[in-house]
């Protein structure tokens, strides 16, 4: 039985106003319920923050703080230092969290500082692959060829021209003792990784694929299906590194073609319109193949 089912009371109350089918809130609930109540959470500006703390309401049943867009990891560093001074660190865990833009773009400097200093903090990146809170603008974690409001497809554009920034590799370059990816489609795996991360002292990084029905353009009932296909095509490999060593990957018995993942999402619709798009899909398939090979997903 998953932690979620065991928990009598979710640590994020259901009164938030996130969209139906929101992968991000689901992921955050799984993270918190796995972490338990003895945590302090810092949150970057973004969907999770605005949908959960509209004064005088709050969905958080744990001590929670939001300061700015780019400083969740620096604020967490200060909290960790304070807990250390008070002799409470360890008994109380610190989690810093933010979306992909807050993590990989605007918050990168603070995050690198937090990692380099070795604070005992778990950083969770809820990766919905664009700036959803401001209206689906591209971030550095937006996938190749995705159409967003600032990387739109058009006569002269095939969508986002860049590859997704490899955040786990950057985390590993900071010699983090624990780096992992997870997905809302695999809640037990996700909870296990949160618990494991929190059992390790030092800075940790967990990146969770969190589909956004509004931003990606799919029916709200398809959140889990989309997340699952991202993993099963090889586009979003799930893995764990401990002390720099790859210790586990989620195997894919029979990889699905990337079309299976792309076709349900409006952000990739333009790729299915002509020959040029077809060639792009081949490139995306190649990205999936590279992941399959790199992480040994089928082996």
């Amino acid at each position: 039985m998953s932690q979620l089912a065991e928990q009598k009371e979710n640590l994020i109350a259901p009164g938030h106003n996130a969209c139906a089918g929101c992968g991000l809130v689901l992921a955050a609930r799984l993270v918190l319920n796995a972490a338990g109540p003895d945590v302090i959470v810092t949150n970057a500006t973004g969907c999770l923050e605005v949908t959960s703390t509209n004064y005088p309401y709050s969905a958080w049943r744990v001590p929670w703080i939001h300061s700015l867009f780019e400083n969740a990891s620096a604020v967490a560093s200060g909290i960790e230092a304070s807990l250390k001074a008070q002799g409470k660190l360890g008994k109380v865990k610190v989690i810093a969290q933010g979306g992909d833009g807050a993590t990989a773009d605007i918050g990168m400097m603070c995050l690198s500082g937090m990692w380099e200093r070795g604070h005992d903090i778990l950083y969770v990146c809820y990766d919905n692959e664009a700036y959803m809170n401001t209206g689906i603008q591209r971030s550095s974690l937006t996938p190749f060829d995705a159409s967003t409001s600032t990387s739109p497809s058009g006569k002269a554009s095939l969508g986002n021209p860049t590859l997704k920034k490899d955040m786990p590799a950057i985390a590993l370059a900071h010699r983090l003792p624990y780096v992992a990816t997870a997905s809302v489609a695999y809640p037990q795996d996700l909870e296990k990784k949160v618990k494991k991360a929190l059992s390790i002292t030092g800075p940790k990084y967990l990146q969770i694929h969190s589909p956004c029905p509004l931003g990606w353009g799919f029916k709200t009932a398809l959140t889990i299906k989309s997340a699952k296909l991202a993993v099963q095509t090889g586009l979003y490999p799930l893995f764990e590194y401990e002390n720099g060593q790859l210790i586990s990957v989620r195997k894919i018995a029979k990889p699905q073609p990337v079309e299976a993942y792309l076709k349900d999402q409006l952000r990739f619709r333009h790729l299915f319109k002509n020959e040029e798009g077809k060639k792009q899909i081949e490139k995306i398939q190649e990205l999936a193949n590279q992941n399959i090979k790199k992480y040994g997903l089928t082996g």
Binding site: P37, D38, V39, I40, T42, E49, V50, T53, N54, Y55, P56, S58, W60, R61, V62, P63, W64, I65, H66, S67, L68, E70, N71, A74, V75, A76, S77, G78, I79, E80, A81, S82, L83, K84, A85, Q86, V92, M109, C110, S112, G113, E116, R117
Partner: protein, 396 residues
């Protein structure tokens, strides 16, 4: 006991007396000596603080924000570009009502880059909700840090405080400082124990979204706390005087202002030079005094109005100004005097930008040539030849 200390050491020693649980800073000239000395105290085991070396001033401010929200007394120091990089967090610290103390070793703002003293940096965050003091000498800097935490942590205030000290002029100057013992400091400044903090035993939400139905009320509450701070500052400086026998002013300090026809106004170390000049002028029979603006936020409008009520000539000396408007302190004083029945000759004199020396002779010359026909905005010791040769200045 008197110690002969560099200003920066005075700050570090005063901060040590306040026992912050968390210190975070990023090095920048001329703040460095402060944080170097604090680092050494921690390294020697003399100060039990978590010292967090960060990758930027932005993170330094964010670290003390987190520490303060988690219930710790927290401290940082910076200047100039560092203060500007902190700016977003400074507004946040004030809005979240977190009583941290930050020392600003005042320095000019780029471009052109210049590491020397003026007060433009502090002026840029004047609307942040942070309480700001300007110290005249290193004794005042030392004393102000103890007072600053007590003021910031007062429940009627609950706002951050910036203690401004002129970069190099004070940070690097050796002066005798009358010291305070740890026991005395502890009696004056009790340990920080906030009612609300990040604590799993009482989970609370900090830094919420305030929609149009709530935002204005939070800003109103901050204004009310700024107003209440005037009362709290007066109370705390009185208490300090009672305990330690020293008083360098509360919101303002007046010097030889009785019966003065002319008053010079300034903030920071320049006040000391002006006091010397005014002593000489008084000896020569001139009716002249000094008004030191010690607390710039909250701005002591009433106190200034009262101090200047019968004065004919007011010269405001400023180490910063607002491009496109003129003197900042000047305009605030002009605004304060709007409700006054007198209409003094009031002029602004910008001095010492980017570390330009301010000799007493220049101040004396300014004083001697003062008259109602001068423009509102004047630049002291401007090098006309250099402007002509090197700079393009359009005709207005």
């Amino acid at each position: 006991m008197k110690k002969f200390w560099e200003g920066s050491q005075g700050v570090a020693e005063a901060v040590k007396l306040c026992n912050p649980e968390v210190i975070s800073a990023y090095p920048i000239t001329p703040q460095t000596h402060i944080v170097e000395r604090l680092s050494q105290m921690v390294a020697d085991g003399d100060l039990k603080s978590e010292f967090i070396n960060v990758e930027s001033e932005f993170s330094a401010a964010s670290v003390i924000l987190g520490a303060s929200a988690a219930g710790s007394r927290a401290y940082s120091a910076t200047t100039s570009q560092g203060l500007l990089l902190m700016a977003e967090v400074l507004f946040n610290l004030a809005g979240m009502r977190l009583p941290v103390v930050i020392t600003c070793a005042n320095r000019s703002v780029s471009a052109p880059i210049n590491i020397w003293n003026d007060q433009q940096d502090a002026m840029t965050v004047r609307d942040s909700g942070i309480i700001q003091f300007f110290a005249e000498d290193n004794q005042e800097v030392y004393d102000l840090h103890l007072q600053a935490y007590k003021m910031a942590e007062d429940p009627d205030v609950s706002l951050p405080v910036i203690v401004n000290m002129d970069g190099f002029i004070l940070t690097h100057a050796y002066e005798p400082i009358e010291t305070i013992t740890q026991k005395e400091a502890d009696e004056f400044l009790p340990p920080y124990s906030p009612d609300r903090k990040l604590d799993p035993a009482q989970p609370g939400t900090f830094g919420v979204v305030a929609d149009p139905n709530w935002y204005m009320e939070t800003r109103y509450a901050m204004q009310k706390s700024q107003e209440a701070a005037k009362r709290v500052i007066k109370k705390i400086t009185r208490e300090f005087k009672q305990k330690f026998g020293r008083f360098q002013g509360d919101l303002i300090e007046t010097y030889r202002i009785e019966g003065a026809e002319t008053v010079v106004v300034a903030m920071g170390s320049l006040v000391g030079t002006l006091k010397d000049l005014i002593d000489e002028e008084r000896d020569n029979g001139k009716k002249i005094g000094v008004l030191k603006v010690r607390c710039f936020r909250p701005f002591p409008e009433e106190e200034i109005r009262e101090a200047l009520k019968d004065v004919e000539n007011i010269l405001v000396f400023e180490k910063a100004f607002c491009l496109g408007l003129g003197g900042i302190l000047y305009h605030e004083i002009r605004s304060a005097l709007y409700m006054s029945s007198c209409r003094p000759n009031l002029k602004c004199f910008v001095v010492g930008l980017g570390g330009r020396d301010i000799p007493k002779t220049s101040l004396k010359k300014t004083l001697d040539s003062f008259g109602p026909n001068l423009p509102d905005l004047n630049f002291v010791d401007l090098k006309e030849e250099q402007i002509k040769e090197h700079l393009y200045v359009p005709v207005s």
